[in-house]
Every structure is written in C-alpha cells, then in structure tokens.
Amino acid sequence: MMKKNTVGSGLLLLLIAGVVGWGVGFGLDLLISGSTPNLAGSVPSAFALLFAVTAFFFGLYGYRGITRGLVWQVAGTLLGGLFVTGIRLLMGMKGNELLEGKFFFSEPAWVFGAIVGVISFLAGVGVMDDWMKWARGIDTDEHHEDKPGWEKYFGVSLDHKVIGIQYTVTAFVLISVGGLFALIFRTELAQSGLQFLSADPTKFNVFNQTGPQFYNTLMSLHGMIMIVSILLGISGIINYVVPLLVGAQDMAFPRMNAFAFWIAVPAAVLLLMSMVLGGFDTGWTGYPPLSSRAPVGVQMFFWGVFTAGWSSILGALNVIATVIRMRAKGMNAMRMPIFVWAAIATSIIALTATQLIGLSFQMVSFQRLFGMGFFDPAKGGNPVLFQHLFWFYSHPAVYVFVLPGLGVISELLPVFVRKPLFGYRWIAMSSLGIALVGFVVWAHHMFTSGMNEYLRVPFMYSTMLVAVPTGVKFFSWVATIWGGKITTPTPMLFVLGAIVVFLLGGVSGPPNAMVALDLHLHDTYWIVGHFHDTIFGGFIFPFFAAVYYWFPKATGRRMNEFWGKFHFWLMTPAFLTLTFGMMFIGLRGMRRRIADYDPALGFDSTHLIMTICAFLIALSVLIFFINLVYSIKHGEKAEGNVWNSRSPEWQVPSPMPAHNYEVPFEVVGEPYDYGLAGSKYVEFSAAAGKKH
C-alpha cells in the first residue's frame, strides 16, 4: 500500500495498470481467438481502460468506496458471463455459437454479466449496506457522519450536499467524454470525404470497427452520454439546492438518494463498454430492426440506459417526497422558491415516463436474446410500436432536461435585477403546464414514420400548445428584467445567454410541429441545431449559471469573475455560430447521423466553421474547469450573502454546515419581494422547528 493516496500516485498507477491491463487483454485475445489480435482491438483496450481507471481510484483513494465498487463490477461482470457460459456449455451449446458475439462471451453471457456487474458495483461500493442490515433486523444510525475533507466524495455519503456535488462532478466528467466524442466526429466532418475515420479496415480499425462504424458508435454515444450527463447534472443541482431551499435537513430518503447516484456510475461504465464491445450504429434512439441487428455493444447500451433510468426514477421520487413532506413552517405551495416548482415538474415526468424507455429497450434486448418478436414484422411484431413506447419517454425527457434550467433562470433573475419575479404563479404553473402537455406530444417525432396518418393532426395541435406555457415564461422573464436595476456578474450573463439561446431553440420549434413542413425538416441538421439550442439554452447555460452562483455556498469561495466572463464570451458566439450553421445546412439538404456528406452540396466551408466553433466551445469549457478547480482552494473568500439574495440558504454563512440550518427557519413573506422595504422571506428561530 502506498503511504499516501494522492492524485500523483493515482496517475502513476493509471499508467502502469493501463499497460498491464493491455497486456492481459492482448494475451487473452491471443489465447481465445488463436490469431494475432489487433493492437487496438476490443479486448486489450477494454482491459487497459478498466485496469487504468480502477488503479487510478486505488491510488487516489485506496481499496474502498468507488475503487471497491469498480473492482466488484469487473469481477461481477466476468462471473456473470462465466456463469451463463457454463450453463450454455452444459446445455451443449458450444463452439462457434458460444462465441457468436466474439469478445470472449456470447451475447446472453454479456447481458447477464452486465446486470450482475451493476449489482456487484452497488454491493461493492456499500450503498446497500444499511438496507441489508435493516432486512436482517439491525437498526442503523439515521445519519452517518462524513469525514471532513475531500475523501467523502469518493465513497458513500448520505449528505444531500455531498451527493449533489458527486452528481455534478460526474456530470462534468460525462460531459467531457461526450464532448470529446463530438470533437472527434466534428473533426471528421470538417471536410467532405472520410479523412481519418476511413472505411478501409486496413487504415482504420478501432475496437473492431471501421471508420464509418466507429463514427456511428461515437455519434450514438455522444447522444446518450450527454443525456445521462444532463440527468446527473440536474440531479446535482436539485440535490444540492432543493433541501436548502425548502429548509430540510436532508432529502426524505438519504439512502435512496445515495443509491440513485451510485447506480449511475456502473451505468456510465456500461455505456462506455458498448463502445469496445463492437459499438452500435443505431443512434441514441436505438430503433429496431436496426438495433436488433447491431453488434453486442447495443446490449450494453440498452442496459446502461436502463440502469441510468433507475437513477433518474429514484432521484425524482425522492425530490417529490422531500418537497411534499419536509418544507419549512409557513412555506405553502405559492411561497416555495420557484426552482422547487421546476424540480417538481421535472420529477413528475422522470418518475413516470422513464419506465417506458427502460421497457422499450428491454423489449429489444429480449427480442435479440429470446427471439421474442415484439418489433419484428416477420414474427407479427410492429417496428412502429417501439417508436411510440420510446418517444413516450424520450419526448417528455427533453422537458426533464430543460425545466430545472428554466427554474434556475427564474430563480436567479430577480436576484440580479433586484425586482420581484414577474407573475410567480404563472411561471410556477407554466412549468407544470409544460410537463403535462409534454406527455401528449410524443408522436411529433413520428410524422414521417408511417404511423396512422390521421394521428398526425392531433399531435401537431398538442405540440403547438407547448408554445403557450413556454411563451408565458419568456414574457414573464422579460417583464422581470424590464425596469430592474440590472447587474451582470457571471451567473447573470449565463442566465441572459440561456434566455437568448433557449429562445432560438423555442422559435425554431413550431416549424417542426407543422406536419407538412416537418416532412422536410425531420431527421436533418435543422433538427440537430434546434435540439442543441433548446438543450444549451435549457440546460448547459443555466447549469453553468447555477454552478457559478452556488459555488460560494458549497466552498466559501467564489470563482474568478474575469475567467467566468471570458468563458461566457467565448462560448456564446461560438455556440450560436455552430447551431446557425447546423440549421442552415439542414434546410439545404444535410441529413442527420451521416459520417460523410456529398461534396456537391457545398457544405464544406460551413462544416469547417462549425468544427472550429466546436473546438472554441471545448476551450471555453476547459477554462471553466481550470477556474473551478483553482477556485476551490484559491478563489476569493465569499462566506456571506455574495449575491445579496433573499433566499434562505444565503442567510447563513458559507460553506453550508453539515446538517444545514442549525437554527430552523419559518417563511414569513414572499420569496422574491425585492424592493419592498422591510420585507423578509424567512425568519430564523428555534420555534420554527415545530412544523406540525
């Protein structure tokens, strides 16, 4: 054992174990396949990656917490796979059939191994220990005290603030991975013709995939990894902020809260495993029959999403229960901070609809494993049925992504314009309105899918209806800004950027709702541009705003203003140029999800500009990361009410104490009464603890 766990020893072990893991994988590949394996083949790469990541955490943290979880996941996956392989051998399925998926195991073995691996991770990391004790009739402490310092972030903690930061950091890690994938394929797209992702297997062969196949894998994973990172990001903000806003000591179910976070880690591992196990070329939508023919990687993708879905479902359940049961005295529904409304609206969707994506992916997985022909027309199945089930989640999902972001905008605006939020009730209700209308619009993704033609018209109407509550939000924001005394520190810049970018996403939406027009726009880069506008405006910009805004609350220091503003002014124009480019070429004939495009279309220069913009965005995010890490230790001290906010969490010193408010508070006024002399939102007193 090293004498001290540090980043340095972690990195050293990362290198050594990477080489060792590659060697092990190479040897195994040699042994199994009997021919000289590809140096960048699946098995060596997978082992190198697994060994390296695990060793990094070992050096950083020792054999506990996340390290133990990862080791157990690897062991569980292999044991699960061996178990099924053994059974298949006993049943007399051998030889070629046994290795039909290559990569050591057959497909059923991989799927079972993946499931066992996820459970093993959860057991290894120790997030279910208390539940197991309860099941055996042993009582445990209500709270576990965390050790001070950074170590608590790498193991199971029950503190919602620690979990919030774990979520946020994991989200940033996944955003970086997804962003890296985007940079790779964006570079390939800079020019027409396949430059380095060559279709010739002798020139390009990574993880047993040729260039276009690898492009498809990267493009598909970019989508799903970003989606998971968004789900984790909103969970991060909600987890950290909602209990503070409602005056609770913690979430309603702290263990389930920890569970919801930790199950997302093996989910991310599964998603990345899909890349090495042959990848998948289905896009994040995984439509059958394409996904029922894709390589084994698609199974890892399905089960990764299924697992990540549970994180989202259980997190949402916790948020709803917390807000219903744990609000401070006097905080009735119309006196909740507006962000709490957004969190509730989001959670209602995440709690219910998420099950449908899990189910639809499970059904394709079973179709592959057991030949159940749900979506196979040759067996009487219906491919369009999948699209209905899939979009029943995946459309409301975009409201899951953006509603918390819109909540951040509404929450922060009054602070920086020093004026009450205009039309609080309308904004609160519009969140619920968007969430509810969001449940009945899913088939607008299917106007060209060949579903019953008459269904297109009602779905066009319901889709256009979304514009009404969204409009209410925009108008109310503008009315809030109007006549305020506006300052623009970094969080406010990102809020304003969010409004403009989300507006672009908003106005580019109705054309897609008009069925006839959508027949042209569907599955083009126009949609890609529209989608990125809504997600950047609805999540990325508000997410950055929230991090800049609540960073002092978590650390007692603030992030550097100059570099924060630099980040904003670099990212915003680059992003706008990127999506304008996407929309422009989309209208003129650039379809989605293509590794290469027809040079005759004349898109080369636009694509080149877009690629440059993508790198500028990456640079700005890199600056943000450096600013973030540097500011934790060296940022300007900010222990008081930095933004001069009325919100309860800013009325106590930063960083927040371990059990939140030592003296409970009672709500005595409206949350956003800026400019009303002598008014107060909350009052701290010991008596406020008697809530019921």
């Binding site: 359940l317 049961r325 609809a353 189910l359 030949g371 089930l389």
Partner: protein
C-alpha cells in the same frame, strides 16, 4: 375495548372484500366464456382494482393527518408511505407500457392458454391477498403470532402462484406451441407473465424479511414495514387483476 372492536371490524371487512373479489372473478370468467364483452371485462377489472386499492392497500392513509414533529415515527412512516406510492405509480407505467404493447400486437385476441390453470393461479393470488390483509390487521393490533401464521400462508400461496405460472403454465404453453419466439401472442405472454412473476418473486423475498423480523418482535410497536410489504403485495395482485383478463379472457384466441 374500542381497540378490539376496530380489529374485528377490520377483519370482517377483509372477508367481505375477499368475497366481492371472488364473486367478481367468477362473473368475469363467466362473461369470458359466454358473450365475451371486452368493455365489461375491463369494467370488472377496474372495480376489482379499486376494491383492492382502497380496502386492502388503504390508499386513504396517504391523506392521514400526523401527530408529532417531523422526527416522530408516525411522521416518518407517512413520508415512507408517500415514497412507496410514488414508486408504485412509477412501476405501474412499466405494466401500462406492456398493456399498450399487448393491445397493439394482439388487439381483441388472446394467447391459447389453459383456462383452468389460469383461473386457479388467479384464485391463489387472490386468496394470498386476503391472508396478507389479515396478517397486517393482526400485527397492527399487536397479535404477532396471528401475523406470522397468516403471512406464512400468504408466502406459501405466493410461492404456489409463482410455481404455477413459471413451472407449470410456461412449459404447458410451450408444449402447445406458444414459445417466446412463436409470434406476438407468445412474446406478449412471456413478457407480461415474466415481469409480473419477477415482482411476485421480489414480494416473496420481502415477505421472508418481515416474517423473520416479526419473529424477533421488531414490529410489535413500529409496524410500518409490514404495511409496506402488504401494500406492495396487493399492488402485484392489482397488476394481475388486469393481466389475467388481458392474457386469458378478452377476445378470441390468437393465431
């Protein structure tokens, strides 16, 4: 005295609800055999579900006012109750999704299955719900021994249901040519019964856990865990109340 009376009225309520459910199931079966009206079958399933949700799962407890501050056991049980119901709402979307699949693929037809066996397992699950309700009522009134006896019966019946579906009905259907890969009827049948059986299986584990802890006397005062397991068990029953007509009764026999 008052306590006693409430107990006996709760117990007799459980019996009455069981009789209603049993009668409705027989009527349901009769309708399926005679004029097979899908609308009526769905309506009866809805009535049965409402009976279980209200009287066995006592959904009204969600509305109960709680005494004590937020650190009291009552208040925390209330929070847990909300958490459990939220989970059930979430879970019902899985089963709802499978219903959509079944309606889309099979419409007004159902797989060719053994009707006697179907009615039998349905009855077994229904009786198990009755005993679960009885056990729960008893432990809430401090009768540990009665709880253990009744819950043991529930467990045995649950196990019988699981064996009936997975180890008798499945091989039986496979012999009749309904396999997972045989077509939409087979796919829907195995998916729906499989997912339901998985829930029954988890329910059996929870039953074992509360049985073991009740033996140690953990639930004599604080009996929320028993309520949670009971509600979950009844929920699984409610799912079957819809799946039974969907798979066995509604419509004609699918190809």
């Amino acid at each position: 005295m008052i306590h006693k009376q409430e107990k006996s009225s709760m117990l007799s309520q459980g019996v009455f609800i069981f009789i209603y459910l049993a009668v409705l199931t027989v009527i349901e079966f009769g309708i399926a055999l005679t004029f097979n009206s899908a609308v009526l079958l769905v309506a009866i399933a809805l009535v049965k579900a409402v009976l279980v949700v209200y009287y066995y799962m006592h959904i009204y407890k969600l509305n109960a006012e709680h005494e004590g501050d937020e650190n009291s056991y009552e208040y925390k049980s209330g929070t847990n109750r909300i958490g459990l119901w939220l989970f059930l709402v979430s879970d019902s979307f899985v089963f709802g999704g499978m219903m959509v699949m079944r309606i889309n693929l099979l419409g007004l037809s159902h797989p060719h299955l053994n009707q006697t066996l179907g009615l039998l397992v349905t009855g077994v699950l229904l009786v198990s719900s009755f005993f679960m309700n009885r056990g729960e009522t008893l432990i809430e009134n401090g009768d540990r021994k009665g709880f253990i006896t009744n819950t043991l019966v529930t467990f045995v019946l649950g196990l019988a249901f699981l064996i009936g579906v997975v180890f008798i009905e499945w091989p039986n259907a496979a012999r009749e040519g309904i396999t997972p890969g045989s077509g939409p009827a087979g796919a829907a049948f195995y998916m729906m019964t499989g997912m339901h059986a998985f829930h029954v299986f988890t329910g059996l584990i929870f039953l074992l856990v509360v049985l073991n802890n009740a033996r140690k006397g953990l639930y004599d005062e604080k009996h929320y865990p028993v309520e949670a397991v009971a509600v979950y068990w009844h929920f699984v029953d409610v799912v079957w109340i819809f799946f039974y007509p969907a798979l066995y009764l509604i419509g004609t026999i699918a190809k």
